[in-house]
């Protein structure tokens, strides 16, 4: 009996509730997407990690307290180990920055190797690394480092492997030096 009543009203009731449900779903979707977009954007603002080469740091001092990634080659003869702490300098050929790191250095960390470090600038102008990444492959050069070397005018990858790190700071940049003498930052 009630079934028959429901059947007669079925078409209209179904369509109406379907429309209402669709509204609900759309509303939820909108909320979800909006929320997610807002979340992602705020998180992006706070958590993007920029890459800087030593030259970038010398050109414009980084804002205090913000983490960034510093990359380049480990300067030859610069690695000093002091217990669990390691200090070394990262160079892109034009400039170099001192880095200190407490931790186990990666297996392929070598002088003259490309390296990317994550950390913050300390008050003394040295970079305090919380992570040091060197790859599990001897021939691998992190793309950022490659880019930094190219920008500093010290390496054209088409002409072969990177020159040894020992020579980095005595070389003159291949291109124009935009008027500034190359100095090693600290």
């Amino acid at each position: 009996m009630s079934g028959a009543v429901a059947d007669r009203r079925g078409g209209l009731g179904l369509a109406a509730s379907r429309r209402r449900r669709r509204l609900w779903v759309l509303l939820l979707c909108g909320l979800g997407l909006g929320g997610a977009a807002a979340l992602a954007l705020t998180a992006f603002q706070d958590n993007l990690v920029f890459f800087r080469s030593p030259s970038d740091i010398v050109a414009s001092a980084p804002v205090d307290g913000r983490a960034f990634r510093l990359g380049g080659l480990v300067e030859a003869g610069s690695v000093v180990r002091d217990g669990a702490e390691a200090r070394f300098r990262v160079t892109d050929g034009a400039h170099a920055v001192s880095v200190s790191y407490r931790g186990v250095l990666p297996d392929l960390f070598r002088e003259g190797q490309g390296v990317v470090t994550l950390g913050k600038m300390g008050p003394d102008g040295a970079f305090r690394a919380s992570e040091v990444l060197a790859r599990h492959d001897e021939t691998y050069m992190p793309p950022e480092v490659m880019d930094a070397l190219k920008r500093s005018g010290h390496w054209n990858p088409e002409q072969g492997a990177a020159p040894p790190a020992a020579g980095w700071n005595t070389m003159q940049p291949a291109g124009a030096t935009n008027g500034q003498p190359a100095r090693t930052g600290g």
């Binding site: 779903v25 992602a40 958590n47 669990a84 390691a86 931790g103 186990v104 250095l105 297996d107």
Partner: protein, 654 residues
């Protein structure tokens, strides 16, 4: 000779695959039963051809055939046999052959198990699988031939990357690929349904086992990879939000959404269009993952070193597949019949919420993974997106997901009242709250681990409540056992999988309380961490089959009583010219004691020590999740298939 046979088998597979892509589809469009019937035979042929090619590749690695460039680059005669064989798929070319082999297996499985499928649907599914297979086989033959010869043959190989010489990693790619390729089958079902213009309960019933299998394998594969990273990379963490990890997480999220929405299609004939879209999305994510890992656009520990040509090929494949699928979707989806109705608060409603949240999480992870690439191309900025981004976005989205995860299974279909559900869950909520408070009071500051413990308890107890309700444990306890035996395996599977996620969460929350210490110690000195004394007893030389290294002996005691002896190592692989760090791990299930050796200098060794509470439960939970998937998969309904469709189709045609 064998490599040439392998190469020939691949070319043959491509030809058969192309036939599989065209003939059954043509037959289905024309209603030609003979052409449609060609599908299964061709699928079997492709399987045999690709299987032979893979066998040939294994052979080349097993006998260390140094006239094959792939073997020279990735193998060495001094390697143990397992890693020789694993080396066959531990490199780019070989892993693509494995990919296609699994796809061919799936194709054969669809033709084998799919006897109950309507002929036209099966033909179309096989055709779509054939198209995907053709694309990948063409990719292999054009850009990554694994059988390339070198002349003159090398004296010996260069060795497999030593970090990859590990049982965990030997099985990680095959499992992950089973998952990836499983999404190809659900994708094929979705495309076939769009071509037919019909999605019904039977479709849901056919898609769900594939979605489940693919999801279970992805879960296992991801867990194995994460476990490997934990013990092999020696960083002490289990998930780094590395782009390659994200690439495997994305299809997992989409697949997880799909397997839930397929339930609604099967039971209630609702969410049909959405499920089709999800199936397309899941496969798109798999392809995107393949592209990200293979093309070298990513800068990651896992990424294979590559040339851009491959990237362009996969990108083209991705654009054609995904673009074509979405165009077809836009064209055909409106013709799918309208769906069953339900109130917002109902099982369906909860599953919709689950889908929305999972997709939102996937979108956020995708944004974080792709943004650095986008910024590099468009803004010329070198940017990376680290774990803090994902923590800030994924955690808030996971909260409502976890809340709904325990409540959803207790809701009635179509229309549920929230109050009775909450009534049944109050004890779980109370226990979760107590857990949060206890952990927070004991551990203090970081509030996230405390919340994690609460969420884990909530999920595990929620799953228990679900089972208890279904077997009427409290209302009619005497019949409970009989009812438990009669409960469909799918119901068990769901509860087990949800509890498994809870167990994983428990481990992750425990890892939130992990402590570590870095110390430079002399032999005989000890370090205190997490209530344990870690004493360095000595460092000595060790020699392995293809490496030489240094091994430290660290004795761990607690209140003077010996707990374990840890022996972390640093190994040098002269052939591969690489070095690895072997972490030493002692697990008590309540926590992992984890030691890594660093540099040695003047009799002082640097040690990095970790105390990781509950760490093993992360992977155990993942195994339980996969077990839940397997249980659900073994449900009678999944095996018997869907007779309903044929009957329904018959009445329509009559």
């Amino acid at each position: 000779m064998i490599p040439e046979l392998g190469h020939f088998a691949l070319a043959l597979a491509l030809a058969l695959s192309l036939a599989q892509a065209v003939l059954p589809l043509w037959g289905a469009q024309r209603g030609d039963a003979r052409l449609m019937a060609a599908g299964p035979g061709l699928a079997l042929g492709v399987l045999i051809a690709v299987g032979s090619a893979f066998g040939a590749l294994l052979w080349c690695f097993a006998v260390n055939d140094t006239s094959v460039s792939n073997v020279v680059q990735n193998s060495h005669s001094a390697k143990p046999m397992l890693y020789k064989l694993a080396g066959a798929w531990g490199n780019h070319e070989g892993s693509m052959v494995l990919w296609v082999l699994i796809l061919a297996l799936c194709g054969a499985a669809v033709s084998g198990f799919g006897r109950g499928l309507p002929g036209a649907l099966r033909a179309r599914v096989l055709a779509v699988l054939g198209m995907i297979g053709s694309g990948f086989l063409a990719f292999i033959l054009a850009t990554s031939n694994p059988f390339l010869r070198v002349w003159p043959p090398a004296a010996d190989g260069q060795g497999l990357n030593p970090v990859l010489q590990d049982p965990g990693l030997a099985f990680h790619p095959p499992l992950l690929y089973l998952g990836y390729v499983g999404t190809a089958v659900t994708f094929a079902f979705a495309i076939a349904a769009l071509i037919e213009g019909r999605v019904d309960a039977a479709w849901g019933r056919w898609v769900r086992p594939w979605a489940l299998a693919s999801w279970s394998f992805l879960t296992l594969g991801i867990a194995l990879g994460s476990w490997w990273a934990y013990y092999e990379l020696g960083w002490g963490g289990y998930w780094f939000w590395d782009p390659v990890e994200n690439a495997s997480l994305l299809p997992w999220l989409a697949g997880c959404a799909l397997l839930h929405s397929a339930i609604v299609v099967e039971k209630r004939e609702a969410l049909k269009t959405w499920s089709v879209l999800l199936a397309i999305l899941a496969f798109s994510m798999s392809l995107l993952g393949t592209f990200l890992v293979r093309s070298g656009v990513l800068n990651s520990v896992h990424a294979f070193a590559n040339d851009p040509e491959r990237g362009v090929f996969i990108l083209a494949l991705l654009v054609v597949t995904v673009g074509g699928a979405f165009a077809l979707f836009a064209w055909r989806a409106p013709s799918l019949s309208p769906t069953g109705v339900f109130a917002p608060i109902s099982r369906e409603g909860a599953l919709v919420l689950n889908n929305l949240l999972l997709c939102t999480i996937a979108a956020v992870v995708l944004a974080g993974t792709l943004y650095p690439m986008f910024a590099d191309l468009m803004l010329k900025a070198k940017i990376s997106v680290g774990p803090p981004f994902y923590q800030a976005t994924v955690f808030p989205l996971a909260v409502p997901l976890i809340l709904a995860m325990a409540a959803g299974p207790l809701m009635a279909w179509k229309r549920a009242r929230p109050w009775p559900v909450l009534q049944r869950l109050w004890w779980a909520a109370l226990a979760a709250l107590v857990a949060v408070l206890v952990v927070w009071l004991v551990q203090g500051k970081p509030v996230l681990p405390a919340l994690g413990f609460g969420a884990a308890i909530w999920l595990i107890l929620g799953a228990l409540t679900d089972v208890a309700e279904r077997v009427a444990l409290f209302s009619r306890p005497r019949a409970a056992f009989a009812r438990a035996r009669g409960l469909p395996r799918a119901a068990w599977g769901g509860a087990v999988a949800h509890a498994g996620f809870g167990i994983s969460l428990l481990g992750m929350a425990g890892m939130g309380l992990a402590t570590e210490k870095l110390a430079a110690v002399r032999v005989g000195e000890s370090v205190a961490l997490a209530g344990y004394e870690w004493r360095l007893d000595g460092v000595r030389d060790v020699v392995g089959p293809n490496w030489a290294g240094r091994r430290a002996t660290v004795t761990v005691t607690r209140d003077g009583a010996p707990v374990t002896v840890l022996e972390p190592e640093k190994r040098n692989f002269p052939i591969a010219r690489q070095a690895t760090t072997e972490a030493a791990i002692h697990t008590t299930w309540a926590s992992d004691l984890y030691a890594v050796m660093g540099e040695e200098e003047n009799g002082t060794a640097t040690l990095r020590l970790h105390h990781n509470p509950l760490a093993p439960w992360i992977w155990l939970g993942a195994a339980v999740m996969a077990l839940g998937g397997g249980l659900s998969l073994s449900d009678r309904r999944a095996r018997v298939g869907a007779p309903a469709r044929r009957r329904a189709a018959g009445t329509v045609e009559a």
